[in-house]
Symmetry: C2
Protein backbone atom coordinates (compact mmCIF):
# COMPACT_ATOMS: atom_id res chain seq x y z
CA UNK A 1 0.00 0.00 0.00
CA UNK A 2 1.39 3.35 -1.08
CA UNK A 3 0.46 6.97 -0.62
CA UNK A 4 -1.28 8.13 -3.78
CA UNK A 5 -2.08 11.58 -5.12
CA UNK A 6 -5.74 11.06 -4.15
CA UNK A 7 -4.70 11.05 -0.48
CA UNK A 8 -3.99 14.76 -0.89
CA UNK A 9 -7.35 15.62 -2.47
CA UNK A 10 -8.97 16.86 0.71
CA UNK A 11 -11.81 14.46 -0.06
CA UNK A 12 -12.69 10.94 1.04
CA UNK A 13 -9.20 9.35 0.70
CA UNK A 14 -7.66 12.24 2.71
CA UNK A 15 -10.26 11.79 5.43
CA UNK A 16 -9.45 8.10 5.59
CA UNK A 17 -5.70 8.69 5.80
CA UNK A 18 -6.17 11.25 8.59
CA UNK A 19 -8.47 8.83 10.40
CA UNK A 20 -5.73 6.19 10.31
CA UNK A 21 -3.17 8.68 11.66
CA UNK A 22 -5.53 9.79 14.43
CA UNK A 23 -6.20 6.17 15.28
CA UNK A 24 -2.54 5.84 16.28
CA UNK A 25 -2.84 9.00 18.36
CA UNK A 26 -6.20 7.87 19.84
CA UNK A 27 -5.41 8.68 23.50
CA UNK A 28 -3.13 11.66 22.83
CA UNK A 29 -5.22 13.80 20.50
CA UNK A 30 -7.73 16.61 20.87
CA UNK A 31 -9.97 16.04 17.89
CA UNK A 32 -13.26 17.85 17.57
CA UNK A 33 -13.96 17.79 13.81
CA UNK A 34 -12.61 21.32 13.31
CA UNK A 35 -9.50 22.60 11.47
CA UNK A 36 -8.69 24.82 14.44
CA UNK A 37 -8.21 23.32 17.91
CA UNK A 38 -9.13 25.26 21.04
CA UNK A 39 -6.81 24.82 24.02
CA UNK A 40 -6.77 26.52 27.43
CA UNK A 41 -7.56 30.25 27.81
CA UNK A 42 -9.54 30.14 24.54
CA UNK A 43 -6.41 29.91 22.44
CA UNK A 44 -7.00 28.57 18.94
CA UNK A 45 -4.30 26.73 16.99
CA UNK A 46 -4.10 25.41 13.45
CA UNK A 47 -1.37 24.18 11.09
CA UNK A 48 -1.32 24.02 7.29
CA UNK A 49 1.26 23.08 4.70
CA UNK A 50 1.29 25.00 1.41
CA UNK A 51 2.80 23.63 -1.80
CA UNK A 52 0.83 25.53 -4.45
CA UNK A 53 2.09 25.44 -8.03
CA UNK A 54 2.53 27.92 -9.68
CA UNK A 55 3.94 29.84 -6.70
CA UNK A 56 2.70 33.17 -8.06
CA UNK A 57 -0.76 33.49 -9.59
CA UNK A 58 -3.35 36.21 -10.30
CA UNK A 59 -4.66 37.34 -6.93
CA UNK A 60 -1.95 35.88 -4.74
CA UNK A 61 1.09 33.72 -4.22
CA UNK A 62 2.30 31.02 -1.85
CA UNK A 63 3.26 33.58 0.83
CA UNK A 64 -0.11 35.33 0.90
CA UNK A 65 -1.86 31.96 0.68
CA UNK A 66 0.06 30.59 3.68
CA UNK A 67 -1.04 33.45 5.92
CA UNK A 68 -4.61 33.57 4.59
CA UNK A 69 -5.08 29.81 4.58
CA UNK A 70 -3.87 29.33 8.13
CA UNK A 71 -5.50 32.38 9.72
CA UNK A 72 -8.77 31.61 7.90
CA UNK A 73 -8.93 28.32 9.80
CA UNK A 74 -8.96 30.41 12.99
CA UNK A 75 -11.34 33.07 11.66
CA UNK A 76 -14.07 30.54 10.82
CA UNK A 77 -13.90 29.27 14.38
CA UNK A 78 -14.49 32.77 15.79
CA UNK A 79 -10.83 33.04 16.76
CA UNK A 80 -8.98 36.33 16.19
CA UNK A 81 -5.63 35.50 14.52
CA UNK A 82 -2.76 36.97 16.55
CA UNK A 83 0.39 35.04 15.70
CA UNK A 84 1.98 32.90 13.02
CA UNK A 85 4.93 30.52 13.18
CA UNK A 86 6.26 29.82 9.71
CA UNK A 87 8.51 27.04 8.39
CA UNK A 88 10.08 27.23 4.92
CA UNK A 89 11.33 24.21 2.98
CA UNK A 90 13.30 25.62 0.07
CA UNK A 91 14.76 23.83 -2.94
CA UNK A 92 18.38 24.58 -3.67
CA UNK A 93 18.57 26.93 -6.66
CA UNK A 94 15.38 28.88 -5.91
CA UNK A 95 15.99 32.52 -6.90
CA UNK A 96 16.28 34.45 -3.62
CA UNK A 97 14.09 37.11 -5.16
CA UNK A 98 11.20 34.61 -5.35
CA UNK A 99 11.59 33.70 -1.71
CA UNK A 100 11.57 37.35 -0.71
CA UNK A 101 8.57 38.17 -2.91
CA UNK A 102 6.65 35.41 -1.13
CA UNK A 103 7.85 36.55 2.30
CA UNK A 104 6.96 40.12 1.44
CA UNK A 105 3.41 39.26 0.51
CA UNK A 106 3.08 37.10 3.64
CA UNK A 107 4.23 40.17 5.53
CA UNK A 108 1.69 42.46 3.87
CA UNK A 109 -1.31 40.31 4.75
CA UNK A 110 0.08 39.75 8.29
CA UNK A 111 0.37 43.51 8.71
CA UNK A 112 -3.19 44.01 7.44
CA UNK A 113 -4.43 41.50 10.04
CA UNK A 114 -1.98 42.69 12.71
CA UNK A 115 -0.70 39.16 13.05
CA UNK A 116 2.79 38.83 14.53
CA UNK A 117 5.49 36.50 13.24
CA UNK A 118 6.70 34.66 16.38
CA UNK A 119 8.79 31.73 15.20
CA UNK A 120 10.34 30.53 11.98
CA UNK A 121 12.47 27.83 10.49
CA UNK A 122 14.21 27.40 7.15
CA UNK A 123 15.52 24.19 5.68
CA UNK A 124 17.16 23.84 2.28
CA UNK A 125 16.62 20.69 0.21
CA UNK A 126 18.95 19.52 -2.55
CA UNK A 127 17.74 20.16 -6.11
CA UNK A 128 15.03 17.70 -7.13
CA UNK A 129 13.91 16.94 -3.57
CA UNK A 130 11.36 19.75 -3.48
CA UNK A 131 9.83 22.05 -6.07
CA UNK A 132 10.77 25.64 -5.32
CA UNK A 133 9.29 26.37 -1.93
CA UNK A 134 6.89 24.80 0.51
CA UNK A 135 5.59 26.80 3.48
CA UNK A 136 4.02 25.39 6.62
CA UNK A 137 2.25 27.91 8.78
CA UNK A 138 0.92 27.47 12.29
CA UNK A 139 -1.52 30.22 13.27
CA UNK A 140 -2.56 31.05 16.83
CA UNK A 141 -5.24 33.33 18.14
CA UNK A 142 -7.84 34.15 20.72
CA UNK A 143 -11.40 32.85 20.69
CA UNK A 144 -13.81 35.79 20.98
CA UNK A 145 -17.22 34.12 20.69
CA UNK A 146 -19.37 33.19 23.69
CA UNK A 147 -19.68 29.65 22.39
CA UNK A 148 -17.07 28.28 19.98
CA UNK A 149 -18.46 27.92 16.47
CA UNK A 150 -18.36 24.35 15.29
CA UNK A 151 -20.08 21.37 13.71
CA UNK A 152 -21.56 20.37 17.08
CA UNK A 153 -23.60 23.59 17.13
CA UNK A 154 -25.55 22.77 13.94
CA UNK A 155 -29.29 22.17 14.26
CA UNK A 156 -32.13 21.48 11.84
CA UNK A 157 -33.46 24.71 10.38
CA UNK A 158 -30.11 26.50 10.33
CA UNK A 159 -29.64 28.53 7.18
CA UNK A 160 -26.51 28.06 5.09
CA UNK A 161 -24.77 31.05 3.54
CA UNK A 162 -21.85 31.23 1.10
CA UNK A 163 -19.87 34.45 1.54
CA UNK A 164 -19.01 34.78 -2.14
CA UNK A 165 -18.58 33.02 -5.47
CA UNK A 166 -17.17 29.55 -4.95
CA UNK A 167 -14.36 27.66 -6.67
CA UNK A 168 -12.30 30.60 -7.90
CA UNK A 169 -8.95 29.54 -6.48
CA UNK A 170 -9.29 25.93 -7.60
CA UNK A 171 -10.52 26.86 -11.09
CA UNK A 172 -7.68 29.37 -11.54
CA UNK A 173 -4.90 26.99 -10.48
CA UNK A 174 -6.34 24.18 -12.59
CA UNK A 175 -6.59 26.47 -15.62
CA UNK A 176 -3.00 27.67 -15.17
CA UNK A 177 -1.76 24.10 -14.90
CA UNK A 178 -3.66 23.01 -18.00
CA UNK A 179 -2.40 26.07 -19.89
CA UNK A 180 -5.89 27.48 -20.40
CA UNK A 181 -6.73 31.12 -20.84
CA UNK A 182 -7.71 32.45 -17.40
CA UNK A 183 -9.33 35.54 -18.82
CA UNK A 184 -9.84 37.91 -15.89
CA UNK A 185 -10.13 35.14 -13.31
CA UNK A 186 -8.32 35.81 -10.04
CA UNK A 187 -7.88 33.62 -6.98
CA UNK A 188 -10.21 34.62 -4.14
CA UNK A 189 -7.20 34.27 -1.78
CA UNK A 190 -7.96 36.71 1.06
CA UNK A 191 -8.11 36.85 4.85
CA UNK A 192 -11.56 36.00 6.22
CA UNK A 193 -11.16 37.60 9.65
CA UNK A 194 -12.40 41.05 8.54
CA UNK A 195 -15.60 39.34 7.38
CA UNK A 196 -15.97 37.01 10.37
CA UNK A 197 -15.09 39.42 13.19
CA UNK A 198 -18.44 41.29 13.18
CA UNK A 199 -20.26 37.93 13.18
CA UNK A 200 -18.61 36.95 16.47
CA UNK A 201 -21.00 39.40 18.18
CA UNK A 202 -24.10 37.71 16.75
CA UNK A 203 -25.19 34.82 19.02
CA UNK A 204 -27.07 32.84 16.32
CA UNK A 205 -24.00 32.10 14.22
CA UNK A 206 -23.37 28.36 14.60
CA UNK A 207 -20.59 27.09 12.41
CA UNK A 208 -18.35 28.32 9.61
CA UNK A 209 -15.65 26.87 7.41
CA UNK A 210 -13.39 28.10 4.62
CA UNK A 211 -14.00 25.96 1.56
CA UNK A 212 -10.40 25.05 0.67
CA UNK A 213 -9.19 21.67 -0.67
CA UNK A 214 -12.24 19.62 -1.60
CA UNK A 215 -14.41 22.74 -1.99
CA UNK A 216 -17.85 23.65 -0.69
CA UNK A 217 -19.14 20.12 -1.31
CA UNK A 218 -16.56 18.52 0.97
CA UNK A 219 -17.21 20.99 3.80
CA UNK A 220 -20.94 20.34 3.68
CA UNK A 221 -20.36 16.56 3.63
CA UNK A 222 -18.12 16.90 6.70
CA UNK A 223 -20.82 18.93 8.44
CA UNK A 224 -23.63 16.52 7.57
CA UNK A 225 -21.60 13.51 8.67
CA UNK A 226 -20.14 15.20 11.76
CA UNK A 227 -23.50 16.48 13.01
CA UNK A 228 -25.55 13.49 11.78
CA UNK A 229 -27.92 15.89 10.09
CA UNK A 230 -28.98 16.41 6.52
CA UNK A 231 -28.06 19.42 4.41
CA UNK A 232 -29.92 20.65 1.35
CA UNK A 233 -28.54 23.22 -1.03
CA UNK A 234 -29.98 24.70 -4.19
CA UNK A 235 -27.81 24.74 -7.32
CA UNK A 236 -29.41 27.96 -8.55
CA UNK A 237 -28.52 29.81 -5.34
CA UNK A 238 -24.79 29.03 -5.26
CA UNK A 239 -22.83 32.16 -6.20
CA UNK A 240 -20.57 31.40 -9.16
CA UNK A 241 -18.72 33.54 -11.67
CA UNK A 242 -19.11 33.02 -15.39
CA UNK A 243 -15.41 32.11 -15.67
CA UNK A 244 -15.59 29.38 -13.02
CA UNK A 245 -18.68 27.89 -14.64
CA UNK A 246 -17.05 27.71 -18.05
CA UNK A 247 -13.68 26.44 -16.75
CA UNK A 248 -15.38 23.71 -14.72
CA UNK A 249 -17.33 22.83 -17.84
CA UNK A 250 -14.21 22.64 -20.04
CA UNK A 251 -12.22 20.66 -17.45
CA UNK A 252 -15.08 18.42 -16.38
CA UNK A 253 -14.87 19.46 -12.74
CA UNK A 254 -17.73 19.75 -10.27
CA UNK A 255 -17.75 23.35 -9.04
CA UNK A 256 -18.67 22.01 -5.60
CA UNK A 257 -15.22 20.40 -5.42
CA UNK A 258 -13.21 23.44 -6.52
CA UNK A 259 -11.26 25.12 -3.71
CA UNK A 260 -11.87 28.61 -2.39
CA UNK A 261 -9.22 30.47 -0.38
CA UNK A 262 -11.22 33.49 0.83
CA UNK A 263 -14.79 32.27 0.70
CA UNK A 264 -16.53 30.68 3.65
CA UNK A 265 -19.73 28.80 4.25
CA UNK A 266 -21.65 29.76 7.38
CA UNK A 267 -24.58 28.15 9.20
CA UNK A 268 -26.81 30.49 11.18
CA UNK A 269 -30.03 30.39 13.15
CA UNK A 270 -32.81 31.78 10.92
CA UNK A 271 -33.60 34.35 13.64
CA UNK A 272 -30.32 36.15 13.02
CA UNK A 273 -30.19 35.69 9.25
CA UNK A 274 -31.04 39.30 8.48
CA UNK A 275 -28.41 40.61 10.87
CA UNK A 276 -25.74 38.27 9.46
CA UNK A 277 -26.52 39.16 5.85
CA UNK A 278 -26.47 42.89 6.64
CA UNK A 279 -23.07 42.49 8.23
CA UNK A 280 -21.65 40.41 5.36
CA UNK A 281 -23.07 42.56 2.54
CA UNK A 282 -20.65 45.41 3.24
CA UNK A 283 -17.50 43.42 2.48
CA UNK A 284 -19.00 40.46 0.63
CA UNK A 285 -21.72 41.86 -1.66
CA UNK A 286 -22.16 38.52 -3.47
CA UNK A 287 -22.90 36.49 -0.33
CA UNK A 288 -26.03 34.37 -0.63
CA UNK A 289 -28.25 31.94 1.21
CA UNK A 290 -27.69 28.59 -0.52
CA UNK A 291 -29.58 26.07 1.61
CA UNK A 292 -30.45 24.73 5.01
CA UNK A 293 -29.78 22.08 7.63
CA UNK A 294 -32.51 19.47 8.02
CA UNK A 295 -33.24 16.45 10.18
CA UNK A 296 -34.07 14.46 7.08
CA UNK A 297 -31.47 12.15 5.41
CA UNK A 298 -28.86 12.51 8.22
CA UNK A 299 -25.26 12.45 7.00
CA UNK A 300 -26.29 13.25 3.43
CA UNK A 301 -25.94 16.47 1.44
CA UNK A 302 -28.58 16.90 -1.25
CA UNK A 303 -28.35 19.32 -4.17
CA UNK A 304 -31.56 20.60 -5.79
CA UNK A 305 -30.56 20.86 -9.41
CA UNK A 306 -31.66 23.60 -11.80
CA UNK A 307 -33.79 21.14 -13.74
CA UNK A 308 -35.75 20.25 -10.63
CA UNK A 309 -34.15 16.99 -9.50
CA UNK A 310 -32.13 16.23 -6.38
CA UNK A 311 -28.67 14.64 -6.37
CA UNK A 312 -26.39 13.51 -3.57
CA UNK A 313 -23.20 15.57 -3.09
CA UNK A 314 -20.12 13.56 -2.08
CA UNK A 315 -16.52 14.42 -1.30
CA UNK A 316 -14.12 13.97 -4.22
CA UNK A 317 -12.82 10.41 -4.44
CA UNK A 318 -9.67 11.37 -6.31
CA UNK A 319 -7.50 14.44 -6.84
CA UNK A 320 -8.51 16.75 -9.69
CA UNK A 321 -5.29 18.78 -9.65
CA UNK A 322 -2.54 18.24 -7.06
CA UNK A 323 -0.83 21.19 -5.36
CA UNK A 324 -3.66 23.70 -5.52
CA UNK A 325 -2.79 25.01 -2.04
Amino acid sequence: MFIEIKHGSGGRPTQELIKEILEIYRDQSVNDLEDCALIENGIGVTIDGFTVSPRFFPGGDIGKLAICGSTNDLAVRGVRPNYVAVSFLIEEGLPKDELFRAVDSAYRVSKELDVKFIAGDTKVLPKGQADGIYITCCALGQSVTDRPWGVNELSPGDVIIATGPVGQHGALIAALRYGLDVDELESDCAPLWPLMEPLTKIPGVKCARDCTRGGLGTVLCEWAEGASLGIEIDEDLIPLTRQVISLADVLGFDVLHLACEGTAVIAVDPDCLHEVLSSLKEKAPLCAVIGKVTDEHPGIVGLKTSIGGMRVVDMPLGEMVPRIC
Copy 2:
Protein backbone atom coordinates in the same frame (compact mmCIF):
# COMPACT_ATOMS: atom_id res chain seq x y z
CA MET B 1 21.26 35.25 -6.33
CA PHE B 2 19.96 31.79 -5.53
CA ILE B 3 19.30 29.77 -2.41
CA GLU B 4 22.23 27.41 -1.88
CA ILE B 5 22.66 24.32 0.26
CA LYS B 6 24.79 26.36 2.67
CA HIS B 7 21.70 28.44 3.56
CA GLY B 8 20.40 25.33 5.31
CA SER B 9 23.54 24.67 7.36
CA GLY B 10 22.32 26.30 10.54
CA GLY B 11 25.53 28.34 10.49
CA ARG B 12 26.45 31.80 9.25
CA PRO B 13 24.64 31.69 5.86
CA THR B 14 21.43 30.47 7.58
CA GLN B 15 21.67 33.32 10.11
CA GLU B 16 22.05 35.80 7.27
CA LEU B 17 19.07 34.43 5.36
CA ILE B 18 16.89 34.52 8.48
CA LYS B 19 18.05 38.09 9.16
CA GLU B 20 16.93 39.10 5.67
CA ILE B 21 13.53 37.46 6.21
CA LEU B 22 13.11 39.11 9.61
CA GLU B 23 14.10 42.44 8.08
CA ILE B 24 10.95 42.25 5.94
CA TYR B 25 8.93 41.44 9.06
CA ARG B 26 10.68 44.15 11.12
CA ASP B 27 7.54 45.71 12.67
CA GLN B 28 5.49 42.49 12.84
CA SER B 29 7.85 40.08 14.56
CA VAL B 30 8.56 39.02 18.11
CA ASN B 31 12.24 38.14 17.92
CA ASP B 32 14.30 37.62 21.04
CA LEU B 33 17.21 35.46 19.87
CA GLU B 34 15.55 32.25 21.05
CA ASP B 35 14.16 29.28 19.10
CA CYS B 36 11.04 29.37 21.27
CA ALA B 37 8.90 32.50 21.47
CA LEU B 38 6.98 33.39 24.61
CA ILE B 39 3.56 34.95 24.13
CA GLU B 40 0.84 35.91 26.64
CA ASN B 41 0.10 33.72 29.69
CA GLY B 42 3.62 32.28 29.50
CA ILE B 43 2.82 30.20 26.45
CA GLY B 44 5.88 29.09 24.50
CA VAL B 45 5.72 28.37 20.76
CA THR B 46 8.23 26.98 18.29
CA ILE B 47 8.14 25.55 14.75
CA ASP B 48 10.59 23.22 12.99
CA GLY B 49 10.68 21.48 9.65
CA PHE B 50 12.21 17.98 9.47
CA THR B 51 13.57 16.46 6.25
CA VAL B 52 16.14 13.99 7.62
CA SER B 53 17.55 11.37 5.24
CA PRO B 54 17.58 8.44 5.86
CA ARG B 55 14.13 8.58 7.46
CA PHE B 56 14.91 5.68 9.80
CA PHE B 57 18.27 5.48 11.57
CA PRO B 58 19.78 3.85 14.67
CA GLY B 59 18.25 5.61 17.67
CA GLY B 60 15.33 7.24 15.92
CA ASP B 61 13.43 8.24 12.80
CA ILE B 62 11.82 11.33 11.30
CA GLY B 63 8.71 10.95 13.47
CA LYS B 64 10.54 10.72 16.78
CA LEU B 65 12.91 13.48 15.64
CA ALA B 66 10.03 15.83 14.80
CA ILE B 67 8.54 15.55 18.29
CA CYS B 68 11.92 15.64 20.09
CA GLY B 69 13.35 18.46 17.98
CA SER B 70 10.34 20.72 18.39
CA THR B 71 9.59 20.01 22.06
CA ASN B 72 13.31 20.35 22.90
CA ASP B 73 13.16 23.96 21.70
CA LEU B 74 10.53 24.52 24.40
CA ALA B 75 12.32 22.46 27.07
CA VAL B 76 15.52 24.51 26.85
CA ARG B 77 13.48 27.65 27.42
CA GLY B 78 12.00 26.25 30.65
CA VAL B 79 8.69 25.60 28.88
CA ARG B 80 6.80 22.38 29.57
CA PRO B 81 5.72 20.91 26.19
CA ASN B 82 1.95 20.35 26.15
CA TYR B 83 0.81 20.28 22.53
CA VAL B 84 2.01 19.63 19.02
CA ALA B 85 0.50 20.57 15.66
CA VAL B 86 1.97 18.46 12.88
CA SER B 87 2.01 18.94 9.12
CA PHE B 88 3.04 16.12 6.75
CA LEU B 89 4.26 16.66 3.20
CA ILE B 90 4.31 13.22 1.61
CA GLU B 91 5.71 12.14 -1.74
CA GLU B 92 3.39 10.08 -3.88
CA GLY B 93 4.50 6.45 -3.77
CA LEU B 94 5.72 6.44 -0.16
CA PRO B 95 4.86 3.06 1.37
CA LYS B 96 2.01 3.70 3.80
CA ASP B 97 3.80 1.48 6.25
CA GLU B 98 6.69 3.96 6.43
CA LEU B 99 4.34 6.85 7.13
CA PHE B 100 2.66 4.88 9.91
CA ARG B 101 5.96 3.76 11.42
CA ALA B 102 7.01 7.42 11.63
CA VAL B 103 3.62 8.46 13.05
CA ASP B 104 3.79 5.62 15.53
CA SER B 105 7.17 6.65 16.88
CA ALA B 106 6.02 10.30 17.02
CA TYR B 107 3.09 9.00 19.05
CA ARG B 108 5.31 7.04 21.43
CA VAL B 109 7.49 9.99 22.35
CA SER B 110 4.41 12.26 22.60
CA LYS B 111 2.86 9.78 25.01
CA GLU B 112 6.07 9.63 27.08
CA LEU B 113 6.01 13.43 27.35
CA ASP B 114 2.20 13.58 27.69
CA VAL B 115 2.10 15.96 24.74
CA LYS B 116 -1.25 16.14 22.94
CA PHE B 117 -1.68 16.17 19.17
CA ILE B 118 -4.00 19.15 18.55
CA ALA B 119 -3.90 19.88 14.83
CA GLY B 120 -2.60 18.23 11.71
CA ASP B 121 -2.38 18.58 7.98
CA THR B 122 -1.37 16.23 5.18
CA LYS B 123 -0.43 17.20 1.65
CA VAL B 124 0.66 14.79 -1.07
CA LEU B 125 3.28 15.86 -3.61
CA PRO B 126 3.72 14.23 -7.02
CA LYS B 127 6.67 11.85 -7.37
CA GLY B 128 9.97 13.71 -7.62
CA GLN B 129 8.70 16.88 -5.88
CA ALA B 130 9.67 15.67 -2.41
CA ASP B 131 11.74 12.82 -1.06
CA GLY B 132 9.57 10.48 0.97
CA ILE B 133 8.23 12.57 3.82
CA TYR B 134 8.83 15.93 5.38
CA ILE B 135 7.28 16.80 8.75
CA THR B 136 6.80 20.27 10.17
CA CYS B 137 5.98 20.37 13.85
CA CYS B 138 4.78 23.33 15.90
CA ALA B 139 5.11 22.69 19.64
CA LEU B 140 3.33 24.68 22.35
CA GLY B 141 3.77 24.67 26.08
CA GLN B 142 3.70 26.50 29.37
CA SER B 143 6.65 28.43 30.79
CA VAL B 144 7.32 27.21 34.33
CA THR B 145 10.42 29.22 35.33
CA ASP B 146 10.28 32.41 37.37
CA ARG B 147 12.37 34.19 34.76
CA PRO B 148 12.45 32.85 31.20
CA TRP B 149 15.78 31.27 30.39
CA GLY B 150 17.52 33.04 27.52
CA VAL B 151 20.61 34.63 26.03
CA ASN B 152 19.80 37.92 27.76
CA GLU B 153 20.30 36.26 31.16
CA LEU B 154 23.96 35.37 30.52
CA SER B 155 26.59 37.09 32.68
CA PRO B 156 30.36 36.84 33.03
CA GLY B 157 31.31 33.97 35.33
CA ASP B 158 28.44 31.71 34.31
CA VAL B 159 29.55 28.11 33.98
CA ILE B 160 28.78 26.20 30.78
CA ILE B 161 27.65 22.58 30.95
CA ALA B 162 27.10 20.04 28.15
CA THR B 163 24.48 17.46 29.14
CA GLY B 164 26.13 14.62 27.24
CA PRO B 165 28.47 13.60 24.43
CA VAL B 166 28.13 16.02 21.51
CA GLY B 167 27.80 15.44 17.77
CA GLN B 168 26.24 11.96 17.84
CA HIS B 169 23.26 12.65 15.61
CA GLY B 170 25.27 14.61 13.03
CA ALA B 171 28.08 12.06 12.94
CA LEU B 172 25.65 9.17 12.54
CA ILE B 173 23.65 10.73 9.70
CA ALA B 174 26.85 11.80 7.90
CA ALA B 175 28.30 8.30 8.24
CA LEU B 176 25.11 6.69 6.90
CA ARG B 177 25.09 9.04 3.93
CA TYR B 178 28.75 8.38 3.13
CA GLY B 179 28.18 4.63 3.51
CA LEU B 180 30.59 4.32 6.43
CA ASP B 181 30.41 1.68 9.13
CA VAL B 182 28.52 3.22 12.04
CA ASP B 183 29.70 0.59 14.48
CA GLU B 184 27.50 0.93 17.57
CA LEU B 185 26.85 4.64 17.06
CA GLU B 186 23.28 5.74 17.71
CA SER B 187 21.63 9.13 17.32
CA ASP B 188 21.18 10.91 20.66
CA CYS B 189 17.64 11.80 19.50
CA ALA B 190 15.65 12.11 22.76
CA PRO B 191 13.29 14.46 24.53
CA LEU B 192 15.10 16.99 26.78
CA TRP B 193 12.17 17.91 29.00
CA PRO B 194 12.77 15.09 31.54
CA LEU B 195 16.29 16.51 32.00
CA MET B 196 15.30 20.18 32.03
CA GLU B 197 12.19 20.02 34.19
CA PRO B 198 14.03 19.64 37.55
CA LEU B 199 16.30 22.57 36.54
CA THR B 200 13.30 24.90 36.25
CA LYS B 201 13.20 24.95 40.06
CA ILE B 202 16.82 26.14 40.38
CA PRO B 203 16.97 29.96 40.17
CA GLY B 204 20.61 30.16 38.97
CA VAL B 205 19.98 28.47 35.62
CA LYS B 206 20.35 31.19 32.98
CA CYS B 207 20.17 29.88 29.48
CA ALA B 208 19.99 26.54 27.64
CA ARG B 209 19.90 25.38 24.06
CA ASP B 210 19.72 22.08 22.23
CA CYS B 211 22.74 21.82 19.93
CA THR B 212 21.01 20.84 16.68
CA ARG B 213 21.97 22.05 13.18
CA GLY B 214 25.34 23.79 13.41
CA GLY B 215 26.24 21.95 16.63
CA LEU B 216 27.59 23.13 19.97
CA GLY B 217 29.93 25.62 18.29
CA THR B 218 27.08 27.45 16.57
CA VAL B 219 25.01 27.70 19.76
CA LEU B 220 27.92 29.19 21.68
CA CYS B 221 28.64 31.68 18.87
CA GLU B 222 25.00 32.76 18.94
CA TRP B 223 25.21 33.21 22.71
CA ALA B 224 28.47 35.18 22.60
CA GLU B 225 27.17 37.43 19.82
CA GLY B 226 23.68 37.78 21.29
CA ALA B 227 24.91 38.65 24.80
CA SER B 228 28.01 40.59 23.66
CA LEU B 229 30.08 38.48 26.01
CA GLY B 230 32.99 36.12 25.49
CA ILE B 231 32.80 32.37 25.93
CA GLU B 232 35.72 30.06 26.63
CA ILE B 233 35.53 26.30 26.39
CA ASP B 234 38.15 23.65 26.92
CA GLU B 235 38.61 20.99 24.23
CA ASP B 236 39.59 18.38 26.81
CA LEU B 237 36.38 18.87 28.77
CA ILE B 238 33.90 18.38 25.91
CA PRO B 239 32.20 14.99 26.28
CA LEU B 240 32.70 12.97 23.10
CA THR B 241 32.38 9.32 22.23
CA ARG B 242 35.18 7.39 20.57
CA GLN B 243 32.99 6.79 17.50
CA VAL B 244 32.21 10.48 16.99
CA ILE B 245 35.88 11.40 17.32
CA SER B 246 36.94 8.87 14.71
CA LEU B 247 34.08 9.63 12.29
CA ALA B 248 34.79 13.36 12.50
CA ASP B 249 38.41 12.56 11.84
CA VAL B 250 37.67 10.40 8.79
CA LEU B 251 35.16 12.88 7.34
CA GLY B 252 37.18 15.98 8.20
CA PHE B 253 34.38 17.53 10.27
CA ASP B 254 34.75 19.73 13.33
CA VAL B 255 32.92 17.96 16.18
CA LEU B 256 31.76 21.38 17.37
CA HIS B 257 29.67 21.64 14.20
CA LEU B 258 28.06 18.20 14.41
CA ALA B 259 24.41 18.24 15.42
CA CYS B 260 22.98 16.79 18.62
CA GLU B 261 19.27 15.99 18.96
CA GLY B 262 19.04 15.19 22.66
CA THR B 263 22.02 17.01 24.12
CA ALA B 264 21.83 20.53 25.47
CA VAL B 265 24.28 23.19 26.56
CA ILE B 266 23.35 25.07 29.74
CA ALA B 267 24.76 28.21 31.34
CA VAL B 268 24.38 28.46 35.12
CA ASP B 269 25.45 30.74 37.94
CA PRO B 270 28.46 29.11 39.67
CA ASP B 271 26.54 29.25 42.99
CA CYS B 272 24.09 26.65 41.76
CA LEU B 273 26.54 24.52 39.79
CA HIS B 274 26.60 21.71 42.34
CA GLU B 275 22.81 21.54 42.50
CA VAL B 276 22.49 21.54 38.69
CA LEU B 277 25.09 18.80 38.23
CA SER B 278 23.48 16.65 40.93
CA SER B 279 20.15 16.98 39.17
CA LEU B 280 21.60 16.22 35.71
CA LYS B 281 23.79 13.27 36.80
CA GLU B 282 20.82 11.00 37.38
CA LYS B 283 19.61 11.01 33.79
CA ALA B 284 22.72 12.35 32.03
CA PRO B 285 25.70 10.67 33.69
CA LEU B 286 28.14 12.02 31.09
CA CYS B 287 27.23 15.69 31.60
CA ALA B 288 30.27 17.91 32.11
CA VAL B 289 31.37 21.48 32.74
CA ILE B 290 33.03 22.57 29.50
CA GLY B 291 33.77 26.27 29.99
CA LYS B 292 32.59 29.67 31.14
CA VAL B 293 31.20 33.03 30.11
CA THR B 294 33.63 35.93 30.33
CA ASP B 295 33.64 39.68 29.78
CA GLU B 296 36.81 39.35 27.73
CA HIS B 297 36.68 39.16 23.88
CA PRO B 298 32.93 39.95 23.64
CA GLY B 299 31.16 38.16 20.80
CA ILE B 300 33.94 35.61 20.45
CA VAL B 301 34.04 31.94 21.43
CA GLY B 302 37.53 30.67 22.27
CA LEU B 303 38.54 27.01 22.43
CA LYS B 304 41.49 26.01 24.61
CA THR B 305 43.03 23.20 22.61
CA SER B 306 44.54 20.02 24.04
CA ILE B 307 48.01 21.15 23.00
CA GLY B 308 47.71 24.35 25.01
CA GLY B 309 46.75 26.94 22.37
CA MET B 310 43.54 28.90 21.92
CA ARG B 311 41.52 29.04 18.69
CA VAL B 312 38.43 30.96 17.71
CA VAL B 313 35.27 28.89 17.19
CA ASP B 314 33.01 30.07 14.36
CA MET B 315 29.69 28.92 12.94
CA PRO B 316 29.96 26.68 9.88
CA LEU B 317 30.21 28.68 6.67
CA GLY B 318 28.90 25.89 4.48
CA GLU B 319 26.82 22.75 4.83
CA MET B 320 28.68 19.57 5.74
CA VAL B 321 25.77 17.21 5.00
CA PRO B 322 22.31 18.47 4.00
CA ARG B 323 19.15 16.97 5.53
CA ILE B 324 20.55 15.89 8.88
CA CYS B 325 17.34 16.94 10.63
